[in-house]
Symmetry: C2
Amino acid sequence: MKKITIGDVAKHANVSKSTVSQYLNKRYEYMSERTRERVAASIEELDYRPNIVARSLKQKSTFTIGVIVANILHSFSTQIIRAIENKFHEQGFHIIVCNADDEPDKEKDYIEMLMAKQVDGIIIFPTGGNVSLYEQMKKSAFPIVFMDRTIEDIAIETVVLDNDRAAQLAIDQFVENGYRKIAIVTTSIIRNISPRLERIQGYKNALERHQIQVNPAYIKTAEPDMLYQSLEELFVSEEPPQAILAANDIVLMEVLKYIKKHDMKIPEDIAVIGIDEVPFASFYTPSLTTISQPTIEMAHLAVKLLTNQINKEETGKPSVYRLQPTLIQRGSC
Amino acid sequence: MKKITIGDVAKHANVSKSTVSQYLNKRYEYMSERTRERVAASIEELDYRPNIVARSLKQKSTFTIGVIVANILHSFSTQIIRAIENKFHEQGFHIIVCNADDEPDKEKDYIEMLMAKQVDGIIIFPTGGNVSLYEQMKKSAFPIVFMDRTIEDIAIETVVLDNDRAAQLAIDQFVENGYRKIAIVTTSIIRNISPRLERIQGYKNALERHQIQVNPAYIKTAEPDMLYQSLEELFVSEEPPQAILAANDIVLMEVLKYIKKHDMKIPEDIAVIGIDEVPFASFYTPSLTTISQPTIEMAHLAVKLLTNQINKEETGKPSVYRLQPTLIQRGSC
DNA sequence: CTGTTAGCGCCTTCAG
DNA sequence: CTGAAGGCGCTAACAG
């Protein structure tokens, strides 16, 4: 099964390779009607398929985009990926998805691999552990946009949620419903991941605004497998909270597990709000109040920004885009 | 920002391009210690990155695999993709994921695109709508393995669940718990998608085995957005079922929505078992009994089969691999 | 041990 | 309108 090439088609159609190439690129002005038909027929007959690798080598564009997510286990990542893929597919681009697993080393490998593969651009949920690499990419004008997390002091276009506001929306909702002992729990902040920090800050800001004293014991951060223990600490304390803000979907699920295990009632024993929409929110019992991210918009914006960079369309706009979350009121608060 | 190439490195290090190439391919026997160091230094200094596209053109291998899922909305797809990605990543392969959205035309486009991109192989959840294309690929010895669905009369290696057994496990569980009026609901079978057919068949087989009459009204199939209506028909009938087998995760969620909306109690009013494990199964109230697919094993097997094909290792083994499901007993039945 | 030489398959001037 | 020629960046003989 020898691969058939443009040369074979040319021979078969009795024209030169360049004519076939013209045909492939739809430059029909450059050939007679008859030639065109002959070429078309030969392509059909030989079942010829152009080799995109060869074309890419020549044209310096692979029509492929890399997407590196920090952690694919978040439903947010999955949703964003889906939306990005849809959008790029419309434009004839493929995407390669990589999961850095929150490990800067993996992230570095992926970035280098993707660049070696000559992808036309990268959308990345940065771990934050490769600042000098980011800078280098930026300097070499490689198209890149950050998603979900901001990295300080780097002028790279970034699309994130207004995390402060997300937390405040949740706290407002709690306070409106009469809760004052409110905890927030989130996954580990040892690497200063911006959305987590910002959500905690938003939590504090909101409490202050409502003149509620911030109780440090009500702020819990831990790796996913330590979350159960953190919750235990929260609830066996002298003054357990009456409400919990789960700062992302993974935390939310851990919270729900804990609550079920200890036979507590939502919202009577404990009210909960989760940031990130989860597929079961609407039919869980009780239904779950959540703060949802505008994933589609975020994805589309990121795609747009990246596309502009690829096409070298200059934009004088600001570099960090914060999109607005929405409170979806349901039954858990 | 000119791209720097192997030639630049060669010049900088005062050696020939081929020596640099040798170095890149770790054939250090072919050069002196000093040369090696010089090359290494130059690469470092120039921040050189090999161009994989050029290499691929020469070597006829892109170290990239295409994965086309029929419908990415199924959690099963996501799980499989994750496992496939992990496995291939170990071997230095990238994967490109495509979502055919259950549309044969999209599937066709993707297959052609991936082949044009010279991927080394494809794993595909076939829609079933492109038989002649499948055959053609098979004939040209292009590495390919099917997943999740069987296609008749095509000798392509296929990894699927033992769907008959999956349904039987569920029915056995229902019957053991005293249920006899058991319904099955699944997504549309107009395109003869094998797992759906097989699950229905397994359902029938099990009922027969238990000497329960098969009631056609208890077998419902519909597109996702028509599922609600199908459930309505099921429950407003003269003799509503006491138990429902949800044949996949999407159906399960619709069932749970319906049940919640109508304030029914699980399992008192209606028992339910779902095929496919869902993330909230363990902490839903009640916890959900499910039939889980061995996703990791399935993915690894598919990867292995594909890898063998890529390496042209002949296997005389059978062509359809049916892996075993597991019943996870919880509280919904 | 190192350099020279041909391509891989395609695209793109540039003559004819 | 069509064809010849060169080159994208890298690899792989094959000489030296």
